[in-house]
Amino acid sequence: MGIAETYSRGREFAIERPFALVLGVIAAYLLGDLLLGLATGQTQFADIGSLAWDGLMRGLVIGLAGIGLSMTYSILNFANFSHGDYITAGAFSGWSTTYLLAGLGRADIGALMLVGAGGSVYGGTLGIGMLSTPLAVIAGIVVAGGFTILLSLAVDRTIFKPIRDEGGITLLITSIGVAFALRYLMQFVFGSDVRGTTAQPPSVGLYLVDGTVFIDAHDITLLVIASGLMLGVHLLLQRTKLGKAMRAMADNEDLARITGIPTERVVRSTWIIGGGLTGIAGYMFILWKGTLGFNDGWLLLLLIFAAVILGGIGSIYGAITGGLVIGLTASMSVLWIPSAFARAAAFVVMIVILLVKPSGLFSGRSTA
């Protein structure tokens, strides 16, 4: 049936079974359709391979950025709509650094710092890439993480902290304000143009049954860095008291304070971890796709929300799994539906999960 046995309570129960049945039928149909396509040669293995790889890459970015969102969502109890723009901010700060290091002496410093605003410098011309300018890229990653940490701490300090007691929706609305301000400030500074950031990275073609799947150096970089960071966070939360304190706070903040948890410090740690991952995710996203625009993070945000909800708010494994599911859905859905609906398909998956299992796949298994 494809749907794991899950215990259900109360009302969910009534709707779960028929839903599961319908879902199972749909899944079977899709699979059959795909197999038929493969058999008749309509669909090719290499197609599936490249789409799956593309989806995996996207999923890693979404998952990495999702961890931060998920953490702040559960601990501070609000859906942070400015998270997408933290991603963009991380990307701009990191790429500004990369441009500067890669292009120093070859172009105007102002143009480099503004990441080639208005077409003043091209990343391709500077030959930026993981293999060609590794130092510039690594420095960019570090700065992206660091800057986003500072940004999120500053925003928290000045904007979220004073109204922390007001409840999730107040904070949510405020975060929409932050998102607007941040996004268009970045547009003001860096311009509204989309710029290409890298030279074409070297790639290898993997031959897959009936065609080639291209995997390039930046795909590999993304894979390595994202999995490394995910593992790191897992260990951090598992090995320290922080993880437990975060869960306690997520649950009942007043009581957490009464039991002596330094809540402000926990909040800060949350922003530091979440912000850092988010900034790096932003940087890696740009490295992978090769273009940078002021809207990038915002466009990703809804997919990240989908991933986080899918996985279960507060769970880092949920965020990662959700990210992969959403990424793969968005990419691979074109095997069945017109590509115009690729993003829509990801949202539909999220809505369906919300109906079947509102608390997400990994509900309850929070941070550690």
């Binding site: 437990k244 304190a245 306690a248 009942n252 007043d254 304070r257 009464i258 309850g364």
Partner: protein, 253 residues
């Protein structure tokens, strides 16, 4: 001994002079936001003492407790604990001076398991004191049985026990209990009071709010009656129990 209704609660029994004072609240004005609930409340707890606060619903009993723990808007007065001024300190710091608190509502982490709740009780220590957990389990065996259950799915009474257990993890000098017996089955009420006696006898001072007033006053050393956010009576528990006026107005005859 009967107490004059208008007499200032703290003026009797030579309380001002005792030197072994643990908690001293003077002239406390506090409330929520701009709304003032407490007016000029005075209260003392001495080393190892067992003090009960009773009073009608909405009198400000819980507010008093919360104020000691830094959870309300303070508008005046001061609070001393062991000669240290803790007025206006944050709750997460107050626990370090040796005060434990079991709130009236919302007193467990519902998404955490029972055992994790207990561990959180000892958060400020570097390591989880296994013996403290053991001691709690010995007191409340049901908690051990359910140690991996989500606390939020425990019954009302079970939650109350868990909350007590959590506050005991640090072996505090003063334990603030807000209606610890509410919702407990009679055997447990009894047991709970016995436990509190035990805890008290082991040296922990208790400041407790109870609606089960007769039982509470019977057991405690001293009691306060609070009404309308002000001190009304203060005396030994038994004296209050016997006071006709108090019985009539506050103890249901």
């Amino acid at each position: 001994m009967s107490v004059d209704a208008n007499r200032n609660a703290t003026s009797g029994a030579g309380i001002e002079d005792r030197s072994d004072v643990l908690l001293r609240v003077r002239g406390l004005d506090a409330g929520y936001g701009d709304l003032q609930i407490l007016t000029d409340v005075d209260m003392d707890v001495f080393d190892g003492e067992y003090v009960t606060i009773v009073g009608p619903n909405g009198a400000g009993k819980s507010t008093t407790m919360k104020s000691v723990f830094g959870l309300t808007a303070l508008m005046g007065g001061d609070i001393q604990f062991k000669d240290e001024d803790i007025t206006g300190r944050k709750p997460e710091n107050i626990i370090h001076v040796g005060v434990g608190y079991v709130p009236q509502n919302d007193n467990i982490f519902s998404a955490l398991t029972v055992e994790e709740n207990l561990e959180m009780g000892a958060y400020i220590l570097d390591d989880v004191p296994q013996d403290a957990i053991r001691a709690v389990y010995d007191r409340f065996p049901i908690l051990e049985e359910r140690k991996h259950q989500k606390a939020g799915t425990m019954s009302g009474g079970q939650q109350q026990m868990l909350a007590m257990g959590r506050a005991l993890m640090l072996d505090p000098d003063l334990l603030l209990l807000d209606e610890p017996s509410a919702g407990l089955a009679p055997d447990l009420v009894e047991e709970m009071f016995d436990k509190i006696d035990e805890i008290n006898e082991a040296g922990t001072a208790i400041l407790m709010v109870e609606q089960n007033a007769k039982e509470a006053l019977r057991r405690c050393d001293r009691g306060y009656v609070l009404a309308n956010g002000q001190n009304r009576y203060m005396d030994t528990g038994t004296a209050l129990l016997e006071d006709e006026q108090v019985r009539q107005d506050f103890l249901g005859g």
